[in-house]
């Protein structure tokens, strides 16, 4: 019996080791192709975008004869994984980044200047200057805009209608009244799903700070947080005390609750549509339950605030196939591909030609996001190398105050002290 078991075990081990070895050799051969470029990112791994990313790759492969090898991770891990791959000198030609990741990768000095690859003329011909600016650092065009819009406020028109609001609130006073009316419905709906946990809480707080008239940092990079910051934090506290906002809400939670009709307002990018569709809403009907709106202002006539959001493509300086990578990037930005991405996933195209098609201009869902984009600003940490640390400080101090451990004044003072030490 023992011998039989031993033979079975050895056979199993041998087969498994053979399987392990076989995998290795396949991988090696796949990477050895001279016309094979490596495209990295996260959307090609996700349920909602996996298929369209596959079609993008095969479409380009059929058209060009090149091959595109996809390397993917989770959205949250992409920056770290890109850095590891770069450190290891592994082949990396083109990558998908978002505005947050972009700076981290750009600071490594690993990105190619796209002015040299595409030519400044081509870039200026195909993109609006404000869009191109998002991918510029120190005069270099390190990121190629791929899909951009603003993170603004999203609302459920049906809930607002039940609460007696046929139009969205435009000032903070109206917003508070609207939230009170929603709470009075007694349906257990959370009026506003502002993020109160993880990095997104810092991202949501910033446009409110701007609305109240202050910023986290001055233009020279020093900490600002004027007296208006205390007003903003006190306003948050007031909303929490009244039950209009809740602790322990992150972007993902807000999306799900909103998609299930359990939340009236929250902050999001165009990606909000994806969650609504996943929850069973007909894509054509999304605007009935999920529409973008300008963020309410402190005083009528003030400029509504929103944060810039977007995905970019970057090409690596170490790539031996920069031309192929650029060719692939142009394919991804071509009208047909960009419009299909827009139709399937709601990702707004950025090239002048695609952004000005009837299809995009007349899209009711996108309109609110595009309108907000006109005045959208970059997240204040977007160009900082320690953005994550800065956001953690902001969120920790905000949470302590919302939990009643510190006052708004102490919150701002603690933030200022810790941020000064961190910058």
């Amino acid at each position: 019996m023992r011998k039989v078991l031993a033979i079975a075990l050895i056979s199993l081990l041998s087969l498994s080791l053979f399987a392990a070895g076989a995998g290795e050799s396949q991988n090696a051969s796949a990477e050895s192709g001279s016309t094979s470029i490596v495209w990295a990112g996260w959307s090609g791994e996700e349920e909602a975008t996996r298929d369209i990313f596959q079609r993008m790759r095969t479409g380009y492969e059929e058209q060009s004869g090149n091959t595109v090898q996809w390397v993917g991770w989770t959205w949250a891990d992409t920056a770290q994984q890109l850095l590891i791959r770069l450190q290891g000198g592994e082949q990396l030609d083109i990558a998908q980044t978002d505005i947050g990741i972009f700076n981290t990768v750009a600071q490594t000095g690993a990105l190619a200047d796209l002015n040299e690859i595409f030519g400044r003329e081509w870039l200026e011909e195909n993109f609006a200057p404000s869009t191109l600016a998002v991918g510029q650092i120190d005069g270099k065009q390190l990121g190629l805009p791929w899909s951009m819009a603003a993170i603004t406020m999203v609302y459920n028109p049906q809930i607002l209608e039940r609460a007696g609001w046929s139009e969205v609130p435009s000032t903070i006073e109206e917003f508070e009244q609207c939230m009170a009316d929603i709470a009075a419905l007694g349906e257990g709906i959370i009026p506003y799903g502002v993020s109160t946990k993880d990095d997104t809480a810092a991202g949501d707080l910033m446009p409110w700070l701007w609305t109240f008239g202050t910023t986290v940092f001055n233009e020279d990079g020093s900490v600002n947080l004027g007296p208006e910051a205390v007003d903003t934090i006190n306003w948050y506290k007031d909303l929490l005390a009244k039950g209009y906002i809740q602790m322990d809400i992150g972007r993902g939670d807000a999306r799900q609750l909103f998609a299930q009709g359990m939340m009236a307002f929250y902050d999001d990018a165009v990606l909000a549509k994806g969650q609504a569709v996943s929850a069973g809403v007909d894509p054509a009907e999304v605007v009935n339950v999920c529409s973008a709106m300008p963020r309410p202002v402190l005083n009528a006539g003030d400029e509504s605030q929103s944060t810039m959001w977007g995905h970019m493509l970057v090409i690596f300086d170490s790539s031996q196939y920069k031309d192929s990578a650029a060719d692939f990037a142009k394919y991804l930005l071509s009208d047909d591909v960009a419009l299909e991405y827009f139709e399937q996933n709601g990702m707004p195209p950025v090239t002048n030609s695609a952004a000005n098609t009837e299809e995009v201009l007349n899209d009711e869902y996108l309109k609110g996001f595009i309108d907000a984009t006109a005045t959208a600003k970059l997240d204040e940490t977007a160009r900082m190398t320690n953005a994550s640390e800065i956001k953690t400080i902001i969120v920790e101090e905000l949470q302590r105050t919302l939990l009643g451990q510190t006052t708004a004044e102490e919150c701002v003072e603690n933030m200022r002290t810790r941020l000064n030490a961190a910058i």
Partner: protein
């Protein structure tokens, strides 16, 4: 005496309930979420509303998830087997032989546990790249063996210390060589300890996310932990119902192994602790 008092019983029952809540509530919550329809994920009810097996069936019939599961089983079984084997030899050496540098090497083994595994990631990545092992199961197998080795070696050393040297001497007098003594006399007596290390190694590799995501990027060889996170926890949407269902499926092999081998696991962990 104290154990028979009413105060102790109340304290005992209260503690049991409290610990039980911390241990089992998250698990029950996971099962509850997995059994809810996806659009009811955030609707608060606990097994008392609409329930469905749709999510779990969806996972079981998803070929991609099953590929991840197969990969995890291959990697976890192999790494736990190899780690146990290597740990056993290392532990036997530390326990029964005396040579220069023995204590220093033992200390180095233990010290390697002091570093967070994330710190070693880049070094291991570069080594795997140099040996052309990136993307293969081998990169994971070697990493997991490395991480299981210190605990495995120290645990088994304690186990082997408890085995009388006179037994080994007797075997030597009878003409047995070191390898024969190890494999025929000492290892059979240490089976509970070895099984506990095998389970430890299995669970470690089964649950690993960071190394599995970094060292293997080909979906065909991806293991379950990164596979689930990448599939269900996205930038745009989070499918908690599917994630929880997949987590239940993922927990089944570990649970089955532990249920069948728990007797050895507990004996293995405690036997080496006391020197007689």
């Amino acid at each position: 005496m104290f154990q028979k008092t009413l105060a102790f019983r109340i304290f005992f029952i209260f503690s049991l309930i409290l610990i039980g809540c911390f241990v089992f509530l998250p698990l029950l919550w996971m099962i509850n979420t997995a059994l809810k329809p996806a659009d009811k994920t955030f609707t608060l009810y606990f097994f008392a509303g609409e329930l469905t097996l749709e999510n779990i069936i969806g996972i079981l019939t998803d070929k991609t998830i099953m590929t991840y599961l197969k990969n995890s089983l291959i990697v976890s079984f192999l790494s736990s087997f190899m780690a146990t084997l290597v740990s056993s030899f290392a532990a036997y050496s530390f326990s029964k032989f005396r040579y220069r540098g023995r204590k220093a090497i033992m200390g180095a083994f233990m010290m390697s546990q002091a570093f967070p595994q994330a710190i070693l990631l880049l070094a291991i990545y570069l080594m795997m790249q140099r040996f052309h092992l990136l993307g293969s199961y081998w990169s994971l197998l070697i990493s997991y063996i490395v991480f299981t080795l210190p605990v495995g070696t120290w645990t088994l050393k304690g186990y082997f210390d408890g085995i009388s040297n006179s037994l080994i001497e007797s075997a030597k007098i009878d003409g047995a060589g070191n390898f024969r003594i190890m494999t025929r006399i000492v290892f059979p007596m240490a089976v509970p300890g070895m099984i506990s290390i095998a389970i430890y190694g299995f669970v470690w590799s089964w649950n690993d996310l960071l190394y599995a995501m970094t060292l293997v990027t080909d979906p065909a060889r991806r293991t379950l932990a990164p596979g689930l996170v990448m599939t269900y926890l996205g930038e745009a949407s989070t499918n908690w119902a599917a994630m929880m269902s997949a987590s239940i499926v993922a927990a089944i092999p570990v649970t089955v192994i532990f249920v069948f081998l728990q007797r050895y696991f507990i004996t293995g962990l405690t036997s080496g602790a006391v020197k007689e």
